[in-house]
Subunit: 252 residues, 2 copies
């Protein structure tokens, strides 16, 4: 199986400003010239396809990646083929920050569906951020944001039961889609139940059962990968641990 497709990032200048870091960081105070300079170091590739590997754990770190369209999962391959999914990355989100530290990727990144990905050579970005103070500031914020998000995930895994996890996960996706102008209540899951389970620390079967249960409770309708959130309030109640079904309040 051609798991490792060779990916070539070409330095093609496309009519696509505002597609990289710029849109990530909210109150970005870069001058148009600075945006130009940033844009100049961003590389764009032809579309990638499901299964394409962006980078592999252990490989040398050179670039950050930004999802323009589509989605990517990051995961740590374990011995014997098992894998632990660390995150799903939707349009506008950045990948590879964990590798700055050691200069090596500590996880792998794989494309989940046909996607457009930008590559940003980190060294150049670093140099540029010395010259553009507000870029440095945004970089610090970007890294900090990632830390904050992982902390939230720690809380999710540490204290919440299965249905709270899945509800939170769906609401997280919803919010992120919404932020990119997509529907917050009607979307496709590019990842499998197994990958969702791995990400949430649950068995596939549990995820599947929860989808069924959520449907019975009219919280959503799910047909395979197509999900429609029907009762956002109900989902939020569950996600925050106030769901009626939740007998298990871990730390009251």
């Amino acid at each position: 199986m051609p798991e490792h497709k060779v990916i070539s990032f070409e330095n093609i200048k496309v009519a696509c400003k505002n597609c990289s870091l710029v849109t990530l960081c909210l109150p970005m105070s870069l001058t148009p010239e600075d945006v130009e300079r940033l844009d100049a170091i961003v590389m764009r590739s032809r579309p990638l396809h499901r299964g394409d590997v962006l980078f592999q754990a252990g490989s040398r770190f050179r670039s950050l990646y930004v999802v323009k369209t589509g989605s990517v999962k990051t995961y740590t391959p374990s011995e014997e083929g098992g894998e632990q999914v660390l995150g799903f990355h939707l349009p506008g989100e950045i990948i590879g920050l964990e590798a700055i530290q050691s200069g090596q990727h500590t996880c792998s990144g794989k494309v989940l569906e046909t996607s457009a990905i930008c590559e940003i050579p980190f060294q150049r970005l670093e140099e540029l951020s010395l010259a553009i103070p507000s870029l440095q500031h945004q970089m610090y914020r970007l890294l900090s944001k990632e830390i904050g998000q992982e902390s939230e995930m720690l809380m999710l895994l540490g204290k919440r039961n299965a249905e709270e996890r899945l509800a939170s996960f769906l609401l997280s996706l919803s919010e992120r889609f919404k932020k990119r102008g997509l529907s917050a209540t009607d979307f496709y899951l590019s990842m499998s139940r197994h990958e969702i389970g791995s990400y949430l620390g649950l068995a596939v079967e549990t995820v599947s059962r929860l989808f069924t249960r959520f449907q019975e409770e009219s919280l959503l309708s799910a047909e395979r990968k197509h999900v429609q959130l029907r009762d956002m309030e109900g989902l939020k109640a569950i996600a925050s641990g106030q769901g009626s079904t939740s007998h298990t309040r871990r730390f009251p």
Copy 2:
């Protein structure tokens, strides 16, 4: 109860170079002058004591903190007094990185034992890192390292059972103490069983039972807060999921 002791960081110049960021980042290529400049912005306070609050969730972010001696826990206070412990911070470790993003602390920091803490006003650090390229580089690495460590924690909480978590936790402490020149096998836990449980996503009772079981298996001896690791190999085997008692290999 005087939970919120007022802490004053004074800009006292102490004979204590190499006590802040410098020692954190391994191959720090700062010139002596740069170290001087970095040192100049670091503030030191009188010793803090158990229960002192470094910063509170929701408060404005101004500074990072570096533990010189002692230990600090970070946690998110939840309604009803419950709290979720996000991390324990030992000497040489930095706190507050999650707050850069929003300018507000998203968790609280509380001192677990008599400790010496340095405060680093972030804005000054940011300015300085524009002037000192290698400092910027170290900052990126520092933030990235935090991301990587949280990812490891995600794996721990997602895939590991109770004994694997506790073994990993103890080995992590051991390693961090060792790195600071302290004993890797004989140390005091400044945090309560409850806090350990919260951090590891376990009930207090489970933590307590595991300490008992580990003692029965001669892996360690624990008397209250004093812990001595007796069988490092055994602990490592457990932490990596190869422990004999571990029936539950989640993803084979």
